[in-house]
């Protein structure tokens, strides 16, 4: 028991006898025993409740189970309700035939990939089935907003393909995506923090290789000591003192490295979108055998793996930079499009107005 403060004022006056409640004594050992027994009972009740809930869920599943059917499209085995089988098969067949070569080249590696696909109202029963059978589950609900932004079937193909890549590549990639909007990529690189990222934006190849993290997640390569100092000053002022204490020496000493890795956790200057854009740029130009080697090689470093599949890594970086960052905008500016649409609709509305019965005589 820790020590506690105590301040006493000695009783000096005779206080008339008041009716103060009698002190009730408690047996602490008895209290502890009661706490222990109730805790055990709580655990049992919680287990019983979860068993009861899963039985109820299974009963509901049995009552509402739907007849299932299987379809095979490319390397994928699809399990769905018999009623929706044709539609699902058509969706996947179209997505597979429109898939880029990089994904099609992974057909052998994807063989055996099984998905439970639910359309509209069978979601509950099929999801339960997928959970029971430990299969991957894909709900296709077209009225949800995110479905308009990205086709869920195409996303499945992308994710399944990335799943066949080595773990180091997947960790480096982070969020799975296949960016198609160069404007967003340009913007992200233009405002990326750090001098190294700015040099990459300007076109320096070595800087891009560092900023993309191909040589490892090394914050000492991404940021200069002054940039880290500025980061601490602005975003972690409470750590400023500790930082100066640990990193007053050149930043690659052990103490400073440990401090930055454990306390600051600096993020890379560019995120997974830029990395994904470079990765697909390289893979789309590789031969099927190179792709296989890329996916199956588990011993090489990330940089070596990229060199193997790209041939000349520096040239690949230069071509990616030219295509994505330097390319001029192809599409019409949005304001011009909006202007044209406004004029068209104005004419249509004016046309209706001139045809109004109000203006007709007789």
């Amino acid at each position: 028991m820790s020590r506690f403060a105590c301040a006493l004022i000695a009783l000096s006056l005779l206080v008339p006898k008041q009716s103060v409640a009698q002190n009730v004594e408690y047996d602490l050992a008895e209290l502890r025993a009661r706490i222990d027994s109730l805790s055990a009972l709580q655990q049992q009740l919680r287990q019983a409740a979860s068993v009861r809930d899963s039985v109820a869920a299974a009963t509901r599943t049995e009552k509402s189970s739907v007849p299932l059917d299987t379809a095979v499209v490319g390397p994928f085995t699809l399990i769905t309700s018999a009623r929706d089988r044709e539609h699902v098969e058509r969706l996947f067949a179209r997505a597979w035939s429109d898939a880029p070569g990089t994904i099609k080249a992974a057909e052998q590696r994807l063989r055996g990939s099984t998905w439970v696909v639910a359309l509209k109202s069978d979601t509950g029963a099929l999801q339960t089935f997928a959970k029971q059978e430990k299969l991957q589950f894909l709900p296709i609900i077209y009225w949800r907003v995110d479905s308009f932004a990205e086709d869920p079937v195409e996303r499945v193909l992308l994710e399944a393909t990335v799943q066949t890549f080595p773990r180091e590549v997947r960790q480096w990639l982070g969020r799975v995506s296949r960016p198609t909007d160069p404007q967003k990529l340009r913007r992200e690189l233009a405002v990326a923090p750090g001098e190294k990222a700015q040099r990459c934006h300007a076109g320096e190849v070595e800087a891009c290789i560092d900023v993309l993290g191909l040589r490892g997640e090394r914050w000492a390569v991404w940021y200069t000591p002054d940039e880290i100092r500025e980061y601490v000053r602005r975003f972690a002022p409470n750590l400023q003192e500790d930082f100066e204490g640990a990193c007053s020496e050149p930043p690659d000493t052990e103490v400073c490295v440990r401090f930055v890795e454990t306390r600051l956790r600096l993020a890379p200057p560019v995120g997974s979108r830029i990395r994904a854009s470079f990765l697909w740029h390289v893979l789309d130009r590789a031969s099927p055998s190179d792709l296989d080697r890329f996916a199956s090689d588990t011993t090489a470093t990330l940089e070596q793996r990229m060199r193997n599949v790209a041939g000349d890594l520096e040239a690949a970086v230069r071509s990616w930079h030219a295509e994505v960052i330097e390319a001029p905008q192809q599409s019409m500016p949005a304001t011009a499009r909006a202007g044209i649409a406004s004029v068209i609709w104005f004419v249509v509305a004016a046309g209706f107005a001139t045809r109004s019965t109000r203006w007709r005589l007789g």
Binding site: A5, C6, L8, L31, L38, L41
Partner: protein, 377 residues
């Protein structure tokens, strides 16, 4: 008349269909609610467990408090692991507070404790820094104790402060905590001695929450309690419904409000378990209700207050006989002056009715005027 009957029949059928539809919606809604809420058994058991764990901690603290109050120490120490940032302030506050009630009528003890005292099992279920107030008897002498429970901080230190603007580990839910407020309800023990039976009963049953504060020097203006359509301002939503009924003019609810506990209260029985001042308090009327007893003392004077305090009668009788004013009426007037007036239901006030009838009349005149000027075509 047949068309009229037809319409009535259609309306009646429509109403029945609507009622049945609503019944179905209600059933489905109840099912959804049921699935979201843990079964009652488990909930009740969890509450009982929580109560026993809190009781264990409180009793351990209380036993050590009573042991300390037996030993007649006059010096005091703050715990060695109290954070340096807080220690000087706490020290100064306790000394100032005790000096303000010299010479005290009863034993007053002020303690600051580590939150791990009495914890069982050892896993943390820390409820936040708080201050417990209770009174009782030790060696047949009355006492009142203030027990501050700190918060664990880094490197084994504990943080505690009576003032909310000084430390993150403050238990003071009062922004304007002054040194006097350190003693809370125990100040009355110090100034007037132990209370009479009726007053003590009231303090244990929720009255202590009305005796835990001093009147602020700059009272805030009473703001409107409702927004448009009668919806409540979010700050009011933490108060008690009975308090709102009191502000709406229901005198019986005024008595019920001041006899209800609010927020966390001490679990052990016996003693005079007064009050827990925590960082997330629950009020009945609002934060300023803590100064009600201080307001009574200021309004009626210390002599009458002492008579009230030591009375053996129930609270209502003691109040009326000491101050000559019915308690429920005084509480309603005081509450309305501090917290505003509540509307009583959706009844239309006389002013609104008059304005509406006047508006109706004006609109009718406008309609007639417009129609008079109208030409066909």
């Amino acid at each position: 008349m047949a068309p009229g009957l037809k319409w009535l029949a259609a309306a009646a059928c429509g109403c029945i269909v609507v009622a049945l539809l609503i019944q179905r919606i209600e059933q489905r809604y109840r099912e959804d609610l049921r699935s979201e809420v843990e079964p009652t058994q488990v909930r009740m058991l969890a509450r009982e467990l929580q109560r026993l764990r809190v009781l264990h901690e409180e009793v351990t603290r209380r036993d050590s408090v009573r042991t300390a109050l037996r030993s007649h120490e006059t010096a005091f120490e703050i715990p060695q692991n109290l954070a340096r940032a807080d220690a000087a302030q706490v020290n100064a506050d306790i000394q100032t507070a005790l000096a303000s009630i010299q010479p005290a009528e009863t034993r007053i003890g002020v303690f600051v404790m580590d939150p791990r005292v009495g914890r069982y099992p050892a896993v943390s279920m820390f409820l936040g820094p708080s201050v417990e107030f209770y009174a009782g008897q030790v060696d047949e002498q009355p006492y009142c104790a203030v027990v501050g429970i700190g918060a664990e901080q880094q490197q084994g230190e504990i943080g505690f402060n009576f003032r909310s603007n000084r430390s993150k580990a403050s238990a003071a839910s009062v922004d304007r905590t002054s040194a006097e407020n350190v003693l809370g309800p125990c100040r009355w023990w110090g100034v007037y001695g132990a209370p009479g039976a009726g007053i003590e009963q009231w303090l244990t049953n929720g009255g202590a929450g009305f005796s835990d504060g001093t009147i602020s020097n700059s009272p805030g203006a009473v703001t409107a309690r409702r927004k448009v359509f009668g919806s409540r301002i979010s700050a009011q939503e933490t108060g008690a419904v009975q308090a709102e009924a009191c502000l709406a003019g229901r005198l019986d609810q005024c008595l019920a409000t001041i006899n209800t506990k609010a927020g966390r209260h001490l679990t052990f029985r016996g003693d005079v378990a007064l009050h827990v001042r925590s960082r997330w308090p629950a009020y009945r009327f609002g934060a300023d209700e803590r100064a009600m007893l201080t307001q009574i003392e200021r309004e009626f004077g210390p002599e009458k207050f002492a008579r009230f305090w030591h009375s053996g009668d129930s609270l209502e009788v003691a109040f009326a006989s000491a101050f000559g004013v019915p308690l429920d009426r005084w509480v309603m007037q005081w509450a309305r002056s501090q917290f505003g007036v509540e509307p009583r239901g959706p009844s239309v006030p006389a002013g609104t009715l008059l304005v509406s009838l006047f508006s109706l009349g004006m609109l009718v005149l406008v309609a007639v005027a417009i129609a008079e000027r109208r030409q066909p075509g």
